[in-house]
């Protein structure tokens, strides 16, 4: 590694999952490559490296962003959350648990991006943000119901080639329900896409 700073490198301090990392980075290096190649945080995936697949989705200051389109030097001072920072110790986040229980993945490569995106979707929805699937976008209409159509629309930046979408939508629905009301989480028929026996089928 060249000594830093130089014409081609800068020393940056990145805050990732609450931990500060100070390191020299090549100016060309994306946030994605710093996470994967320098900080050994390989949970964030590289699917296309051009902002088209969503596999590299992380949270930057709480908002979802594709880390392949962000230069590492531009991420200084931001709070970055990767998939490694989502669980609380051994306790999975409800979104992670729902993905696991409902088999919201197959090969698993898009999964960290789907989960990070889902976390942001739940926040965006709770904040009343409309989407292209929202029927009534007037501010006074309030928070739109988080229907399967809403989830599909809001999650569409995250491709899954295995075709796990049906289970992913169910997982996001279940996590949203858990968010709203913990007691509703296990209620059968919580959404039109959740067969009553779906969760019973899985032996954790």
């Amino acid at each position: 590694m060249a000594p830093a700073p130089t014409a081609t490198h800068s020393v940056v301090t990145l805050t990732v999952n609450g931990e500060k990392h100070t390191l020299p980075v090549d100016h060309r290096t994306t946030l994605l490559d710093v996470l994967r190649e320098r900080l050994d945080l390989t949970g964030t995936k590289k699917g296309c490296d051009q902002g088209q697949c969503g596999a590299c989705t992380v949270l930057v200051d709480g908002r979802r962003a594709v880390s392949c389109l962000q230069l590492a030097v531009a991420a200084e001072g931001r709070e970055i959350t990767t998939i490694e920072g989502v669980a609380e110790g051994d306790r999975l986040h409800p979104v992670q648990q729902a993905f696991l229980d409902l088999d919201g993945f197959q090969c698993g490569y898009c999964t960290p991006g789907q989960i990070c995106s889902a976390l942001a979707v739940l926040d965006e929805h709770a904040a009343g943000w409309p989407s292209a699937a929202t029927d009534d976008v007037r501010p006074e209409a309030g928070v739109p119901p988080l229907t399967p159509e809403e989830i599909r629309e809001r999650m569409s930046g995250n491709l899954c080639r295995c075709g796990a979408y049906v289970s992913i939508v169910r997982a996001v629905e279940r996590a949203a329900a858990a968010d709203r009301d913990a007691s509703a989480a296990d209620a059968p028929g919580g959404g039109d896409d959740i067969p009553a026996d779906a969760s019973k089928e899985a032996v954790a």
Partner: protein, 725 residues
């Protein structure tokens, strides 16, 4: 050697939903894929692909690039280590693209011409982009059409006859009261696994070690041993987590380039393909045109079934997408004729892609049957039931279990098919025309020789070692369940280690044969171990290991028509103003043997159906005739189904088993896609009265067809062909 003598009927892990063994690692980001395993002193390789479609390389100007920061080497045809490409591997000769940098010829756009290796991936990438390669170009031909002068008929497909003939097709057609004679077209399609191909190679104590993303580590090890003229014992390939495969993750230029560079530099080298590179070096599904001729009596009983398909191969190498074979085992007819012909072009060689042959072939034939049903005035399910064969229609061989009729019945019941008004173009929901359609699916059932070892550990746990691959199928979990039942223990006492070529010969994740082949071997070894443990005595410190090899038991199986089956149903809505087709729901009912893990099996079947939806409406790689290269070789230019495209899709199954397989497995990797696109196309006809015979059913095609004279109304059509018309 134990033999399979009985089914495992005892209640146990098999048949019960089980979350993925590695699931927690996958939802927390802990699972490491091939490009994510750390290596000390790692160098990064970046491929450079040809920008011309035909010609030769006259100069690779390495000088300026070698002076760039961090650049360690530039490999090309003038300096690369020699590899041996004249061999026949376990699945045939290699695609010539793995003969990396062995000559100056450029056979197609996107052919690898150099590998730049540098200390960091940024340095390698910049140097690769800066590398000047000079070419002498020649005229190229990338235009696919069935009347191409170079079209020819291959002898065989994977050792099976390419052409099947029974009876006199022309005579039966002439004697038929009702004839359907139509052409169908499917485009070039790409696997586009979410994880790009990645391999790290290094030499360790005289052994070539490769950490890879593949669907068969033993297979890739064998290929690398051939290529680098090594003993198989001198190659080790591992591939623990694989971010999708679908047929494209065998030996490819990334492993060969990494091994070459590791040899030259004597340090670990990683080569990761870019998304764009994947479009030209890992294979794809050939475009097809298919002519289907059906002749029937007025009641729909088939007299003649003709299916002539054309596909593409490269001028370098023969690969057959065997689309015409779909009907051979499906429908009784007095005369059958099916053959697939090839047009060699200056394009990359196609390869296996989820349900090779069956996916495009089922689209054509299952649509043609819907057209026949319409002409005969017979319900599409009744038509298929009427043509259900008693024995293999062409082979005359007996069937293994064939529970297709049960799929129709259960599917029709759950989809409320009986309430369907067969008339097309009559249901409106606002600006949408709504329709439903169905199609049948089938996929062959097979198993290939595989070895496994099961060890009883002193602590009371068990370790299974097998060179299986879990490419997202859930194989690791299914094998854990199978081993647990055979050992009569709970799954938490079984540790399944896979994807290490050192574990021995095994079939790969392909042909829907993975779990069946591996499960068979695991079961035999586990049973033998249980018998030995039953003799009593303490487990020694190094454990007690039983091994199996299924070669003999598989060789002893009688010839039979072994298949899984399914019935696919779809409801679509077609926007009459924009031409957009939306799938509203899909239902697939399958008879696919014993289902080991309902949770992951449902995911796999739904995933296959999602591929069918994607094939029907979205996927299409377009080649520019002038440059010979793709237009938009990325995930924006090549759209496959995203969340918003995919509605409620349900998959379920009827009681079915395979009496020969000791677990009863048939295989479920591919059948989900088979027939799914046809069910959607048939639903589009039911909605609009227009037959769409060319995939994908794009909005412009829907609008063009709707604007044609005589439409909307039955009989109009958007005819088959690979062109952009």
């Amino acid at each position: 050697m134990t033999t399979a003598t009985r089914g495992t009927a005892a209640p146990g892990a098999v048949g019960t939903g089980h979350t993925r063994i590695e699931g927690r690692d996958k939802v927390t980001g802990a699972a490491r894929y091939a490009g994510e395993i750390p290596f000390g002193d790692l160098a990064h390789g970046w491929l450079v692909l040809s920008t011309v479609a035909r010609g030769r390389v006259v100069a690779v100007e390495t000088g300026p690039v070698l002076g760039m920061p961090g650049v360690l080497a530039v490999l090309h045809h003038g300096n690369a280590p020699r590899v041996e490409t004249q061999y026949v591997g376990s699945l045939g000769p290699p695609d010539p693209v793995v003969g990396l940098f062995q000559h100056d010829r450029v056979p197609y756009a996107g052919w690898p011409v150099a590998l730049v290796v540098a200390e960091t991936s940024e340095q390698a990438r910049e140097a690769a982009e800066a590398l000047q390669v000079r070419y002498e170009t020649e005229p190229h031909d990338v235009g696919f059409h069935p009347e191409h002068a170079a079209a020819y008929t291959p002898e065989s497909v994977m050792g099976q006859p390419n052409e099947a003939v029974k009876g006199d097709l022309e005579a039966e057609l002439a004697a038929s009261a009702v004839v359907v004679d139509e052409r169908y077209g499917t485009p070039e399609e790409h696997h586009n696994t979410m994880e790009p191909h990645a391999a790290t190679a290094r030499w360790d104590g005289g052994r070539l070690e490769v950490v890879d993303s593949n669907q068969g580590s033993r297979w890739v090890a064998e290929e690398l041993a051939h290529l680098f003229s090594l003993d198989l014992a001198s190659v080790r390939v591992r591939s623990e987590h694989v971010g999708g495969a679908f047929g494209c993750k065998g030996v490819r230029p990334h492993q060969v380039g990494a091994a070459m560079a590791a040899t030259v530099l004597d340090r670990p080298v990683r080569v990761v393909l870019t998304r764009r590179q994947m479009f030209s070096v890992v294979g794809y599904r050939s475009p097809t045109t298919q002519r289907v001729r059906l002749g029937a009596d007025p009641d729909g009983r088939l007299r003649a079934l003709g299916h002539e398909a054309h596909g593409v191969t490269s001028k370098l190498f023969e690969f057959v997408e065997p689309s015409a074979g779909f009907g051979r085992s499906m429908y009784a007819a007095d005369a059958h004729h099916s053959v697939t012909r090839l047009v060699p072009l200056d394009v990359p060689t196609p390869t296996w892609m989820r349900a090779p042959g069956e996916a495009p072939g089922s689209f054509a034939l299952e649509c043609a049957l819907d057209e026949l049903a319409e002409k005969c005035g017979v319900d599409p399910i009744a038509l298929r039931e009427r043509n259900e064969p008693a024995v293999g229609p062409v082979s005359g061989l007996p069937f293994g279990s064939r529970n297709l009729l049960a799929c129709y019945r259960e599917g029709a019941r759950r989809f409320s098919w009986a309430d369907r008004d067969p008339r097309p173009g009559t249901r409106r929901d606002g600006r949408w025309l709504v329709g439903t359609g169905m199609a049948a699916s089938t996929f062959f059932v097979g198993a290939a020789p595989t070895t496994a070892a099961v060890t009883a550990e002193p602590d009371g746990t068990f370790t299974v070692r097998i060179t299986a691959a879990d490419v997202g199928t859930g194989a690791r979990t299914a094998l854990t369940q199978i081993a647990a039942d055979a050992l009569e223990v709970t799954p938490d006492r079984v540790r399944v280690r896979i994807a290490d070529s050192d574990f021995g010969q095994a079939w790969l994740a392909g042909g829907s044969m993975g779990t069946r082949s591996w499960g068979w071997a695991v079961l035999l070894a586990a049973r033998e171990l249980r018998e030995r443990l039953a003799l009593g005595g303490a487990v020694p410190e190094e454990g007690l290991t039983a091994r199996s090899d299924t070669s003999d038991v598989l060789a002893a199986l009688a010839q039979k028509e072994r298949h899984s089956y399914g019935a696919q149903f779809a409801e679509v809505a077609v926007d009459v103003t924009t031409g957009e087709v939306r799938v509203r729901r899909m239902l697939g009912i399958f008879a696919a043997g014993r289902i080991v893990n309902p949770l992951t099996a449902r995911s796999q079947l739904v995933g296959g159906m999602t591929w069918g939806l994607s094939m029907a409406l979205h996927e299409e790689a377009v080649r520019d005739a002038a440059s010979g290269a793709h237009v938009g070789a990325d995930l924006a230019g090549y759209h496959f189904a995203a969340h918003a495209d995919v509605p409620r899709i349900e998959a379920d199954w009827v009681e079915d088993t395979d009496d020969e397989d000791p677990v009863g497995i048939k295989g479920i990797g591919e059948i989900g896609i088979v027939g799914a696109a046809a069910a959607i196309a048939n639903a589009v006809w039911h909605a609009t009265g227009v037959r769409h015979r060319t995939l994908p059913i794009r909005p412009d095609r829907v609008l063009d067809a709707a604007g044609a004279p005589g439409t909307p109304g039955a009989g109009a059509a958007a005819d088959g062909g690979p062109d952009r018309a």
